[in-house]
């Protein structure tokens, strides 16, 4: 046969391979096909194509593998068991940017399902190559590598520590400063996943200078970026007082309050989470937030959302009020109690009601003034009904009972106590009667003694 005909055979084979791998990659985008593909044994067919001579076939095979592994964890485990990962890691170091993107995509897809799979990725030495990819010029490669690192670090503290030990954090901080929005988002989410596990990891992230850049990005108009940035800052601030103070020193107040007015619900939620994590540590930090007008902003934010979005805001009010009576009074004058009682009555979910009940209890437990401010909004009957109702969860019952007890011990406002005399259970009734005696007895004593004229209590 002539040389041309021989070469034609090879060309046909190459064409066939290219077509196969492209079709598989396309079919893998649709979830309904993946079962059929799996049953047809696509993994074993794609594996040798990863080593193909033609670079396009390699890249498309990697992309198809990534999409398959992304779908569920059985396929991801098949990828791990088929010894594909060391190959990918080796060629990640050398190939061009499309291949790097596809390989990083496969690593991300495998690593996202469970800690064991992520550990398998770490064990085959992928972290060093991913960190090298973070230094690449192409922003798509950086994004894919950062995404993979973020998913690996998400699972638990050991994996996060492994990612940090590979030296990813300074490079991620550099990635945050890049102009591409998608890269910033992914880098911010990776930093958030790393710092959420333990204070040491958060300290590592802070030492790399991440806080200043994250604080600058709060002003960015992109809402998904704001979500990730606020989530990263709140994960850093939640661990200790020092970290929270460092976050506050980056001058996020009052800019963060504008995020509470954002259209995106999750931006609001993450912003109120950040404020809550800062407020819960010490009274001084809560004072700072109150002085910056944060309480009013959070109360407005609670009023404008529904459901789980409200929960961090409610908890923040509870933490602020719990520290001292002056802060609780500040919450009261910012009109927090009517809002909380609306939450208590409106919300369908029990855990949000429990949080609202707890917050109201923290506000009202300090002095008779506070208890009066809570009692005039008619919250106490609502709390009582929640405590008595059999449908409430146990947590809700416990919290509403504590709140009632705390408020009743200080409440001297009699019109609010009267309904309790009729329908309260005996253990609460005794507190109510005690309060009545406290209020009425000196009053009676004063009047009767004034009539007899003998003993006059000098006031």
């Amino acid at each position: 046969m002539s040389q041309r005909q021989v070469l034609q055979v090879f060309e046909q084979y190459q064409k066939a391979r290219t077509q196969f791998v492209q079709m598989v990659a396309e079919l893998a985008t649709r979830p309904q096909n993946i079962e059929t593909l799996q049953n047809a044994g696509v993994m074993s067919l794609l594996r040798p194509l990863l080593l193909d001579v033609v670079p396009t076939i390699q890249q498309t095979a990697a992309l198809a593998l990534g999409r398959l592994a992304n779908y569920n964890d059985d396929l991801a485990e098949a990828v791990v068991k088929g010894d594909i990962l060391p190959q990918l890691v080796y060629s990640l170091a050398e190939q061009n940017r499309f291949y790097k993107k596809a390989a990083a995509f496969v690593l991300r897809a495998v690593g996202k399902h469970s800690p064991q799979l992520a550990q398998a990725i770490v064990d085959c030495g992928a972290l060093d190559t991913l960190v090298i990819c973070l230094e690449d010029f192409d922003p798509g490669v950086k994004e894919a590598a950062a995404w993979a690192l973020g998913y690996i670090a998400r699972h638990n503290a050991e994996l996060s520590q492994a990612v940090v030990d590979a030296g990813a954090v300074p490079l991620l901080v550099l990635c945050i400063q890049e102009p591409e929005i998608a890269l910033k988002r992914i880098a911010a989410s990776a930093l958030s996943d790393i710092s959420k596990h333990s204070p040491e990891l958060a300290q590592t992230v802070v030492d790399a200078g991440a806080i200043a850049h994250l604080a600058q990005m709060i002003l960015n108009p992109d809402s998904k970026l704001k979500r990730q940035v606020l989530s990263a800052l709140s994960q850093i601030a939640k661990h200790s007082v020092d970290l929270a103070e460092m976050v506050v020193e980056a001058e996020i107040f009052p800019v963060v309050l504008t995020c509470l007015k954002d259209k995106d619900e999750y931006v609001k939620k993450n912003a109120s989470t950040l404020i809550r994590e800062i407020a819960k540590h010490t009274p001084e930090l809560s004072q700072l937030i109150v002085n910056a007008g944060g309480v009013a902003a959070v109360i407005d934010c609670i009023g404008s959302c529904k459901g789980n979005i409200r929960l961090p805001g409610i908890m923040m009010l509870g933490y602020v009020a719990a520290h001292s009576e002056n802060l609780a009074m500040a919450v009261i004058i910012s009109k927090g109690v009517p809002q909380l009682s609306i939450c208590l009555s409106e919300e369908p979910e029990d855990h949000i009601k429990a949080a609202a009940a707890w917050a109201i209890g923290q506000i009202g437990r300090h002095t008779p003034e506070h208890a009066r401010a809570v009692a005039v909004t008619n919250t106490l009957p609502v709390l009582l009904s929640l405590y008595m109702s059999t449908e409430s969860s146990e947590d809700l019952q416990v919290k509403s009972k504590k709140a009632i007890k705390n408020i009743l011990q200080k409440c001297t406002y009699l019109p609010a106590l009267e309904p309790f005399l009729y329908d309260a259970p005996p253990n609460i009734l005794k507190h109510v009667v005690g309060q009545f005696s406290k209020v009425l007895f000196p009053w009676i004593f004063r009047y009767t003694s004034a009539e007899s004229g003998q003993l006059s209590t000098t006031y």
Partner: protein, 362 residues
């Protein structure tokens, strides 16, 4: 006898009278006795009563004095205590006054300033109002910006559509779709179409990104590259004077396509790519990825594993390295060692040094 008779007649009477007089006397006596007794008893009674009266008087005097004395003592005690109590009450009242003033002062100065708290709460509520206003303004501004951006996007879209639909413009002969003769005035789309510029189809297609590498130069057919054939002379060129060469030849010469040398035609890092290619092919073909090492350096990093027979639990046995004969002096029959009858080989004195430098295994 008469007297006797008379005495006897009178004897009973006398007896009676004797008895009677004696009994009267007895009665009398008894009366007198009783009277005497009465008088005496009365007198004695009076005596005793007087005595007792005296005693009473005396006792009363004593008791009176004693009671007054003890009453006075009690009275003094009562007065003492009452005065003490009065003084203490006074002191207490004064101390309460002092403490009241002091406590008020202390709390107000060091612990809690009520007015400051009121001030603070007022300032907090003012800040809250300011923040609420600022946030509302901010939200309004954002809304306005969004609406503006939306409107602009809509405008752009409509513009683009008008440019695409430009052919639907009405002409003098044929009224267009948006300019129906039954309408009073034309549809606003008509006016838009009038204002729009027609859209050329080429510009709407997105320009594909081409990676221009040197090897594609030869196949370059874009309008901006040099024309390779069908050479047309420029339109407004003046006719050249004189017997010059054929114009097609000249233009062919002038606009000759690039024929790069082999050196330029290949990419600059061709050697590296070729090496990489080669390495990849080799890697494909390899069964085992570990490199072959020369024998001399095969054992370089390998840890020496001594014979199990020659090593004990605590350290390797020196047999086989230090000495080659098993020496057990206890088993020797005599004290002396073997004597060498023949001299040792010279060969083994150069053990390890006879080999070449490359083969230095030891």
């Amino acid at each position: 006898m008469a007297t006797l008779a008379r005495l006897q007649a009178r004897s009973t009477f006398v007896a009676q009278q004797y008895y009677f007089r004696n009994s009267v006397v007895d009665l009398f006596r008894k009366k007198e006795y009783d009277a005497a007794v009465k008088i005496q008893s009365w007198f004695r009674g009076c005596q005793v009563r007087a005595y007792i009266r005296n005693l009473h008087r005396i006792t009363t005097v004593i008791q009176k004095w004693w009671r007054s004395y003890s009453g006075r003592q009690e009275y003094q005690l009562i007065v003492k205590f009452a005065s003490c109590a009065m003084k203490m009450n006074l002191y207490n009242a004064m101390a309460v006054r002092i403490q009241r003033r002091w406590r008020g002062y202390r709390i107000r100065k060091y612990c809690f300033n009520y007015f400051y708290l009121k001030e603070y709460l007022r300032a907090v509520s003012e800040t809250n109002d300011a923040i609420r206003e600022a946030l509302e303004e901010f939200a309004e501004m954002k809304e306005r910006e969004e609406k503006k951006a939306d409107l602009e996007r809509e405008e752009k879209k409509r513009d683009y559509q008008a440019r695409k639909m430009h052919y639907l413009l009405s002409t003098k002969q044929i009224p267009g779709v948006y300019n129906s003769p039954f309408r009073k005035d034309p549809d606003p789309w008509e006016l838009r179409l009038q204002k729009a510029k027609p859209l050329t189809s080429q510009r709407s297609k997105a320009k594909p990104k081409r990676c221009i590498s040197l090897s594609n130069w030869l196949a370059c057919t874009s309008a901006r590259s040099f024309p390779r054939s069908e050479i047309l002379p420029p339109i407004d060129r003046k006719q050249c004077q004189g017997p010059f060469r054929d114009i097609t030849e000249v233009l062919e010469q002038r606009y000759k396509p690039l024929e790069p040398t082999l050196r330029v035609a290949e990419p600059i890092d061709e050697l590296k790519l070729a090496r990489g290619e080669f390495r990849r092919q080799e890697w494909m073909r390899n069964v085992n990825d570990n490199m072959f090492l020369p024998f001399s350096s095969y054992h370089k990093n390998k840890k020496y594993i001594p014979l199990m027979n020659s090593s004990s639990k605590y350290s390797p046995n020196s047999y086989g390295s230090q000495h080659f004969r098993d020496e057990n002096p206890k088993k020797w029959i005599c004290d002396k060692d073997f004597q060498t009858v023949l001299p040792s080989f010279d060969l083994f004195s150069k053990y390890g040094k006879l080999y070449s430098k490359a083969g230095q295994i030891i």
